[in-house]
């Protein structure tokens, strides 16, 4: 499906099929529309627009397991992909270990950068169960935060790693 050729409909839009947080979804998107705009249009408001130039990381999502900034990615490129947004990790009723760790560590201030940062952290922790501080800092490098100075966020990722190791035992 991924390499299938898309054609514009009579309104000049693509109809793309993808999975968002495990659910199949078809989206109507303009050729110029970013994946961020499309996701927000379809109700995934957790993914944020902080700069629209791919520099702040607030719009980070996972595309087929890899972390991407969705604001500079045309939506049609997501055709056939599996997208994970912050809403796909956990909910207030049943939060993901990383979300719980961010709360516990006091890593959330205004919270605007947090969805993107948690998605980036998930990308890291999916690959590395025991990241060192340097690896965490390096991995979160693309997620700007002006509130926290990153101090408690780095702690949060360490705590999340610990929680995930515990739960996988």
């Amino acid at each position: 499906m991924k390499n299938e050729k898309l054609s514009l409909d009579k309104n000049g839009r693509f109809e793309i099929s993808l999975k968002v947080n495990g659910k199949p979804l078809s989206m109507e998107v303009k050729p110029s529309e970013s994946l961020l705009e499309a996701l927000r249009k379809y109700g995934y408001k957790g993914t944020k627009k902080g700069c629209d130039t791919g520099d702040c990381g607030s719009c980070a999502i996972l595309m087929d397991g890899s972390s991407r900034v969705s604001c500079v990615m045309p939506a049609f490129l997501a055709h056939g992909s599996e997208i994970t947004t912050i809403e796909g990790l956990g909910t207030v009723q049943n939060p993901h270990a990383i979300q719980a760790a961010f709360v516990e560590a006091g890593a959330v201030q205004c919270g605007f950068c947090i969805p993107g940062m948690i998605v980036s952290a998930k990308h890291l922790l999916d690959r590395n169960k025991t990241p060192g501080e340097g690896e965490i800092k390096h991995h979160l490098d693309g997620n700007l935060c002006r509130c926290t100075g990153y101090v408690k966020q780095i702690e949060a990722v360490k705590l999340a790693a610990k929680k995930l190791r515990k739960s996988s035992k």
Binding site: P95, F102, V108, T148
Partner: protein, 775 residues
């Protein structure tokens, strides 16, 4: 005593979870822009491409022909009411020099026209289709140049108000002198130095966003990312000739502000909504945030200080000239705080002089920014402290210890300089600086490293160094700031706390709930917080001036105490006891002889059974003083003398914020402020072309610190007990940002002997300074 008090706390001073943090971490739609409103129109503004120009002719007819465009406003279509965008107490001490739209533009990025259209694309097309015929005027970009005779006059309009000297582009001025003798007569050494800082932007990650719509009664609802909802209501009403009753302002979760959202920029969205009778949404792009929202005031500062050989500071003269950009938002108050929040830090034996000006230029508009003048002035003052200590051959630590303001002492500056007017007399009622300095010196390893680095530096191109700074700030604006609260009791013994106070990510909702819970003897989760809605919550000036914990917290404490009395009154009837024999504990009311009744029963009795009434109370709070928090900062750095790069290996800040209502959140406030300050110091600054066009208005070219730019950043809370604050609390949010500029300037000097007096300390500047030193 303080410690004993602290030990009794049940909810206050505890690390409870921030109440909105889980929702935020799960991506719940909590921000201004996270709602979809049916039929919403998208607003776009046309921004001036010229630094200074008069609009000779403006034609929107082509824009209006574009499909989906519903309105295109110019200065001809909106009321012309001089006002300020500064969200401050009324009447604002900032000049009334701003119009919704004007026939003159004063900087690249000034508003020219505003459109609303059914799609973003149509709105973008429409702003391009507005035809403007400009008469380009000469521009002035430097605040010193702007005061010279013959400089272009930026505010030559007749109707602006409260500009002290429009002809010389002076937006605000203030002078103050204490003279006890001849200047510098007692001094063994006089140190004179000039310091400069450039344009810094707040870089809140959420761009400014506003949605205006109408309710079923045709009232204008403004859902907006603001720190000052009540000032938004008043200033929008003023600018559009509306009545306050016609407007409701709702502040949802806010994605950071740091002062940039203390500006009322909602007027133009409201104007578009009124014109189209439709909901309208405006979201700034990052570039627009950089250029057209607000910035920190760039500063030019001259310090001249006298010192005696024994370490006595004899004279202190501070001259500061701020660049306020095209409009005078916070022009007077930031300038005055640059003196009032710094000079009292140290005793001065003889003479004190402050001379301040804020000057218009054709550059972006400065405004409130965390630190609010103190950031600018502490850069100079704390560098000056090291320079003086060096002159007399004294350890800079001991020099500061000798001179900093002590418990029970005052300063003539407190009375002379308020925010835009006379201040209040006050003495220091709590200070933990001695402990803070001791702890910081130990944590950073000051004396041990001083010796070691001196030896190590001899044979290495990487020079290591240590620097420090002492800091203060205020806690709210005395006799100006006011906050209020309402608390009501529910059937299950829980409470609703309604507050005007504005949580912009700081955690104020959480700490205010903790304060209420402490008084009412319930867990903080039994206090349901609703804040910042001008229809539903009582008044509060908003989130600025480090006021929320101290002022709004004071209001919450008073309110909770009133509710406590009401609970006791009902319980007294139930238990048939005298009120004075009753006390609250663990969601129950106890009598001294062991009788008890649950909150649930008290609430149900009052609501349903007997002498029915809602247990509810409101209270307001303002303060006569503004107890300063204090802080000592220590930096351990390396300068690579080949590349000019500075690495901050360890940064320790010890903060006396009184009782930390929530230590985790207090640490978070300080961590964030410190890293913002480090980022200012080493990386930031808006650059302009010679014609005033910003050159780096994006995150790729305006660098802010990321996680990989920090090594070790440590906040250490130094508990004290402020008798005037709620449960001993003072402010914590701003102070930390003032430290990195001077601490790093001092550390770089310690490492490699060059004194940087202009921020940011880029590798280029360091290399140039090293080169100059060699010559």
């Amino acid at each position: 005593m303080p410690e004993a008090k602290t030990k009794e706390f049940k909810v206050v001073n505890k690390r409870v979870e921030k109440i909105d943090s889980l929702g935020l971490a799960c991506g719940e739609p909590m921000f201004t822009g996270d709602v979809d409103i049916k039929g919403v129109l998208y607003a776009k503004l046309l921004w001036s491409p010229h630094a200074h120009a008069r609009i000779k002719n403006i034609d929107v007819s082509q824009a209006l022909k574009i499909k989906g465009v519903r309105a295109a406003l110019t200065y001809k279509d909106v009321p012309r009411v001089p006002h300020t965008t500064a969200g401050q107490g009324y009447p604002e001490p900032s000049p009334y020099d701003t119009y919704i739209l004007d026939n003159k533009v004063r900087f690249v990025g000034d508003r020219v026209a505003a459109v609303a259209a059914e799609t973003i694309e149509a709105a973008e097309e429409a702003v391009k289709a507005v035809k403007v015929d400009y008469e380009i005027l000469p521009a002035v970009l430097d605040q010193l140049e702007a005061m010279k005779p013959g400089a272009p006059v930026i505010h030559d309009e007749k109707d602006s108000k409260n500009i002290p000297d429009a002809k010389r582009n002076i937006a605000a001025k203030f002078d103050f002198e204490v003279k006890n003798g001849e200047w510098f007569a007692d001094a063994d050494h006089v140190v004179e130095k000039t310091y400069r800082i450039p344009y810094f932007q707040h870089c809140a990650i959420e761009p400014h966003t506003t949605i205006c719509y109408f309710d079923h009664q045709n009232r204008l609802i403004i859902r907006t990312s603001t720190q000052v909802p009540f000032h938004v209501r008043r200033i929008v009403a003023q600018a559009l000739n509306l009545s306050v009753k016609d407007i409701r302002v709702i502040k949802p979760r806010i994605g950071g502000g740091f002062g940039s959202k203390q500006e009322v920029l909602e007027d133009v969205v409201a104007a578009l909504a009124l014109k189209t009778k439709s909901p309208v949404r405006l979201e700034y792009s990052r570039k627009e945030v950089f250029i057209s929202s607000r910035t920190r005031h760039p500063a030019f500062m001259k310090l001249k200080t006298g010192v005696k050989k024994d370490g006595t500071i004899t004279d202190m003269s501070m001259e500061i000239i701020l660049n306020t950009g095209a409009y005078g938002s916070h022009a007077l108050t930031v300038m005055m705080c640059s003196g009032s929040h710094t000079i009292p830090m140290y005793r001065v034996k003889n003479n004190i002089k402050f001379s301040g000006k804020s000057v218009y230029t054709n550059l972006p508009v400065a405004g409130a920014y965390r630190g609010y003048g103190a950031t600018q002035a502490f850069f100079g003052l704390e560098a000056q402290m090291d320079l003086m200590a060096e002159k007399i051959g004294m350890d800079p630590v001991l020099f500061r210890k000798k001179n900093y303001i002590k418990l029970g002492e005052g300063s003539p500056v407190f009375k002379a300089m308020g925010e835009g007017r006379e201040g209040v007399e006050q003495v220091i009622t709590s200070i933990g600086l001695a402990e803070g300095m001791e702890r910081g010196l130990k944590e950073i390893g000051w004396y041990e490293k001083k010796k070691r680095y001196a030896a190590e530096n001899k044979n290495s191109h990487v020079k290591k160094g240590l620097g420090m700074a002492c800091l203060m700030q205020g806690s709210g604006i005395p006799e100006v700031d006011m906050g209020s609260a309402t608390i009501k009791m529910n059937e299950d013994g829980s409470f609703n706390l309604l507050i005007g106070a504005t949580d912009l990510g700081t955690g104020s909702d959480t700490i205010l709930a903790q304060i209420a819970a402490e008084v009412l003897e319930v867990p903080n989760t039994d206090v349901i917080v609703y804040s910042s809605d001008t229809d539903l919550t009582p008044f509060d000036v908003g989130a600025y001036a480090s006021s929320t914990t101290f002022i709004s917290g004071g209001a919450v404490k008073k309110t909770a105490e009133k509710v406590r009395e009401m609970i006791i009154e009902v319980a007294a009837k139930i238990l048939d006891e005298k009120k004075e024999n009753l006390y609250l504990k663990d969601k129950q009311v106890f009598s001294k002889d062991g009788k008890r009744v649950t909150f649930q029963e008290v609430a149900n009795t009052s609501l349903y059974y007997y002498n029915q009434h809602q247990i509810i109370a409101s209270a307001s709070h303002f303060a006569r003083t503004s107890p300063p928090p204090f802080s000592a900062h220590f930096a351990d750095i390396e300068v690579d003398t080949r590349t000019g790069e500075v690495k901050v290996v360890d940064y320790v800040s010890c903060v006396d914020c009184g009782t930390a209502i929530n230590p985790t959140l207090a640490e978070g406030q300080n961590d964030g402020a410190v890293v913002n300050g480090l980022s200012h110091t080493l990386a930031e600054g808006i650059e302009f072309s010679p014609n005033g066009t910003p050159l780096n208005a994006n995150f790729r070219r305006y660098k802010i610190f990321t996680s990989s730019d920090i090594e070790k950043v440590r906040t250490i809370l130094i508990p004290t007990y402020e008798p005037n604050g709620p449960f001993g609390a003072k402010s914590v949010s701003e102070i930390g940002i003032n430290g990195p500029l001077p601490a790093l300037s001092n550390a770089i000097y310690d490492a490699c002997g060059v004194r940087l007096c202009e921020a940011p300390f880029t590798p280029y500047r360091i290399l140039m300074a090293l080169k100059k030193k060699q010559e």
